[in-house]
Structures are given as C-alpha cells and as structure tokens.
C-alpha cells in the first residue's frame, strides 16, 4: 500500500484523471457540435495563447493579482489583530463576534452590490475580498491563541514575564502556523471572490472584466481561456505559499 501512495504514482494517477476529463470534454464538444455552447479543448488552448499575447491580458492579470494580494495583506493585518484580541480578551471577543458573524454570513453578492455604490470600481474587489477573508483569518488566529501550550504560559508566569513578553515570545509564535493555515485556505477563495467582484464592478484592467466582455460577445472559448488562467494563477500562488510554509517550520515536539 505504501508504494501506491508514492509521489510518482500519485502524479501519474493525477495526470490520468486530467486526461480523462479532457477526453470527455472533447467527446462532449463533438456531440454538441456548437462552439458557443461547448468549444473543444484545443480551441480553448489556442484562444488562451491568443489572449495571452495581448498587452491588455498582462495588465488585467497584473491588476487582478495585485487586488488579490492587497486583499490578503489587509485581511491578514485585520484578522491577526482581531484574532489576538478575541483570543486574549473576553470583552474584545464579545465586542467583535457580532461584526464577524455578520460579515461571514452576508451574501457575497450583497456585499459586492453595496461596495459598488460606495467605492470606485478598482476598490470594490479588494473590499469584497477583505470582507470574505478577514473573518476566516480571525477565526484561525483566535483558535491558535486558544491552543497555545498551557505549559509554556505557566513558564511565563513563574519566570515573571510581563504581558507583552508573553504575547511576543509565546502567543504570537504559537499562532503563526494557524495564520499560515488560514492564509492557505483563504487564498483560493480570495482569487474567486476578487474575480467575481470584478465581473460586476468592471474595473478597466481586470480578469473579471475580460470574462464579462467575452461572455457578452458569446466568445465561450475565451470565457474558458480566462477561467483556465484564473485556475493556473490560483494554483501557482497556492504552491508558492506551500513552499513558504514548508520552509518556515520550526515546530518540534516539546519533550
């Protein structure tokens, strides 16, 4: 069984699954026979190459990537602060919980529509991204604070570390793996939400704008080409973060 889970075998099976997906797609496109409803895979690939060569493609991808990054950074700062506050103080937790509950349960579309009333088109996706990700990070950090090793906190008490030393030396380092896990799970959501908000708010340079434009012109192959681009970008950024997390590990058993 161990050999089954070996890396190479896992990769081969993954490739087989992708190949099967593409074959089914190809057969379906032949049966349907209309490019507007389902273009063939090679058609989408060709369209991807043709849009990639355009200057507007690079501007759109750059702008969307930046919006996603800004959204993540601001959510990180907000979520980290709020999570530490909620985890260390019951009053802060009681105060912030309703705010977080509202942002977590409000429909994405309502937030996008409201943001379109309040902000410039460029800012709408960033704002929506923040509202989606910040509650996830807050919950993760709060969970991290709650699970700080009590034995280390006792150590801080008997050696008389003050509150800021305990926070800096014990709490925050314990929370870092939780923050990274939170970032990892919100990265994919961030791309999706930002692009969704772009589709509606239509900034000048944006992948979402490209998607919407293609759809309006019934360029189905181009809609799919943009989608493939989004999937690749999301996957690349997730892999980069995984690499970073792998290198940041100092965690070891405490005994």
């Amino acid at each position: 069984m161990k050999a089954f889970t070996s890396k190479i075998e896992k990769r081969i099976i993954g490739l087989l699954s992708a190949a099967l997906f593409i074959i089914i797609w190809k057969i379906a496109s032949i049966r349907i026979g209309t490019d507007i409803i389902l273009p063939a895979p090679e058609e989408v690939l060709l369209r991807l190459f043709s849009i990639m060569t355009a200057e507007t493609f690079r501007q759109a991808v750059g702008a969307t990537a930046l919006r996603t990054l800004y959204g993540l950074i601001i959510s990180f700062v907000l979520g980290f602060t709020a999570g530490i506050a909620c985890g260390t103080s019951r009053r802060a937790d009681a105060f912030l919980s309703p705010v977080i509950a509202i942002t977590r349960t409000a429909p994405v579309m309502s937030i996008i529509l409201l943001a379109m009333i309040w902000f410039k088109t460029d800012l709408v996706p960033v704002f929506v991204g923040i509202l989606m990700i910040f509650p996830i990070l807050t919950a993760n950090v709060k969970q991290g604070v709650k699970s700080v090793d009590r034995k280390l906190l006792e150590l801080g008490t008997v050696y008389r570390l003050n509150r800021s030393e305990v926070l800096r030396e014990i709490t925050i380092p314990s929370v870092i793996p939780f923050v990274l896990a939170g970032l990892r799970s919100s990265l994919g959501i961030a791309w999706k939400v930002v692009i969704a908000a772009e589709v509606l708010s239509q900034p000048v340079h944006a992948m979402g704008t490209g998607l919407q434009f293609s759809q309006m012109n019934l360029e189905t192959a181009e809609v799919m080409a943009w989608t493939v681009t989004a999937i690749i970008l999301s996957w690349l950024s997730e892999s980069a973060l995984d690499l970073l997390i792998k290198h940041l590990k100092w965690e070891a058993p405490l005994v």
Partner: protein, 255 residues
C-alpha cells in the same frame, strides 16, 4: 546566597472545577491540603517525597504561585520582599522557536539587561556542558541536553528559591545519575534554598538535606521528616547513612 526559607502555614486547598481535579486524580472539591503547615529551611535542598497523586505537584504550584490557596499563607521567612522562584519542570519547557541561549536570555533580560543576560546565559550553558550548542534550537538537541538547558535556565535566573517538579522523571537511569550530579555541582556553588519533589527514593537520598515524606491519603500530611547529615559531594547510595535512610523511606512508602 539566600537566607530565606519557606514557611507554609495552615494552608487548605481543593481543585475548584472537575477537569483540573481530574487531571490531578482527585474528586472535585476534595481537600488536598487541610490546615497544612510545614517549614522548609533556607540554603538547603528539601525533598518532598511521596506516592504519585499525593499532592506534591499541587504543593509546589501553591509555593510558586501558579495556584492560590483558599486560606492560610505561604511566605518566605523574612517577609520584607516578595520571594521569587526558578522552576524546573518535568519537561524542559523550552520555546521551540528560540535557540537555547535566547531561551535563557528571555527570562534574564529584565533583571540584567540584554548584554549581561547573554553573558550569564553563556556562563551557565558552559557549566552544564552545552557551550558548543548555544545557537541550537531545542528540536536539534537530545532530551537530556534539553533538560540540561532547562537546569541552566533555573540556576541562571536570580531567584531565591529553586523549585523542582520531578525534573529527571522522564530520563533513563544513566542520564538521571548524570543530571543529579550536575545539579549537585551547580547547587553547592551558591546553596540556594531548593524544593525538590519526587517519588524516587534514590533521588531523595542523593539530593535531599531534609526529606519530608507525604502521606498517600487526602488531605495530605507530612508523616516523617528525615535529615541527611552527609555533605552533598560525598553522598552515594552505598554509604551506611544512605542505606539506613533508604530502609526507613522504603518502609514508610510501602505501608
């Protein structure tokens, strides 16, 4: 160095909630100490010996202030200033994200300033034979080396009293003997008031100047007090004094 003993007067204690009580193997609200008093002399190693679950760790936590007694008092004998403690726990309790030198500097900084803290940490790490490993992280060291670093931290901290909660319990026999003699070597330098909690008769004989035996029932009581007249460096388990003490302790603990 230290002139202060510890005086425990009429202390009563029970665990308030079920979980804390269960973790100590007793029922909620069951009195672990009832009007309990004892004097622990200055500049000596007092050993608290007793079967598992008799309240040894609870007593140590009451002395260190990790737990608060319901009534009665625990104080240093000249009560003009607050007593402070170094604690050597059952596990090393080193911060995994700091190298061992930084682990020690952390608790010293407030008392000595950054530079002297660094020097002092280096000095004590040399005394415990870890001078080549000051930059190593806990995960890179063996269990015995980590406990040595913890011993260095306990002695480096400018406390009047050193409290030890079965610090060698998890180690194999060779390491136990090795660290027991390391402790003796460091202890005779400044003869700080020390309280050593253990259920191991041999450790009690090798380290204790005063051996207090706690009863196995609750509430706990001191059922015997034995003084060991031999000088620390001359103690070994084969001397007549040691054998006599061992016989006595064995009888007390097996009734």
């Amino acid at each position: 160095m230290s002139e202060k003993g510890i005086s425990i007067e009429n202390v009563s204690f029970a665990y308030e909630n079920n979980r804390a009580a269960a973790s100590q193997g007793c029922a909620e609200r069951e009195l672990i100490f009832d009007n309990f008093s004892m004097e622990l002399p200055a500049s000596k190693v007092s050993v608290i010996l007793g079967p598992s679950g008799c309240g040894k760790t609870t007593l140590l936590n009451l002395v260190s202030g990790l737990l608060n007694s319901e009534d009665g008092s625990i104080s240093s004998m000249n009560n003009d200033e607050q007593n402070n403690f170094s604690v050597l726990f059952q596990e090393p309790r080193l911060l995994p994200w700091r190298n061992i030198s930084r682990n020690i500097e952390l608790v010293l900084k407030k008392h000595y300033g950054a530079e002297k803290a660094r020097e002092t940490a280096g000095h004590y790490l040399k005394l415990v034979g870890l001078e080549k490993f000051t930059e190593y992280f806990p995960a890179q060291l063996s269990g015995g080396m980590r406990q040595r670093a913890a011993i260095a931290r306990a002695f480096a901290f400018p406390a009047d009293t050193i409290l030890m909660d079965e610090p060698f319990q998890a180690l194999d026999l060779g390491l136990k003997i090795n660290l027991t003699s390391l402790f003796t070597k460091l202890w005779v330098e400044d003869r700080r008031t020390s309280i050593f909690v253990t259920h191991d008769i041999n450790e009690a004989i090798l380290l204790g100047d005063e051996i207090f035996v706690l009863s196995g029932q609750r509430p706990a009581e001191v059922i015997e007090h034995i003084s060991n007249p031999e000088a620390h460096q001359e103690r070994n388990l084969e001397s007549e004094t040691s054998i006599n003490i061992e016989k006595k302790l064995y009888r007390l603990l097996t009734v």
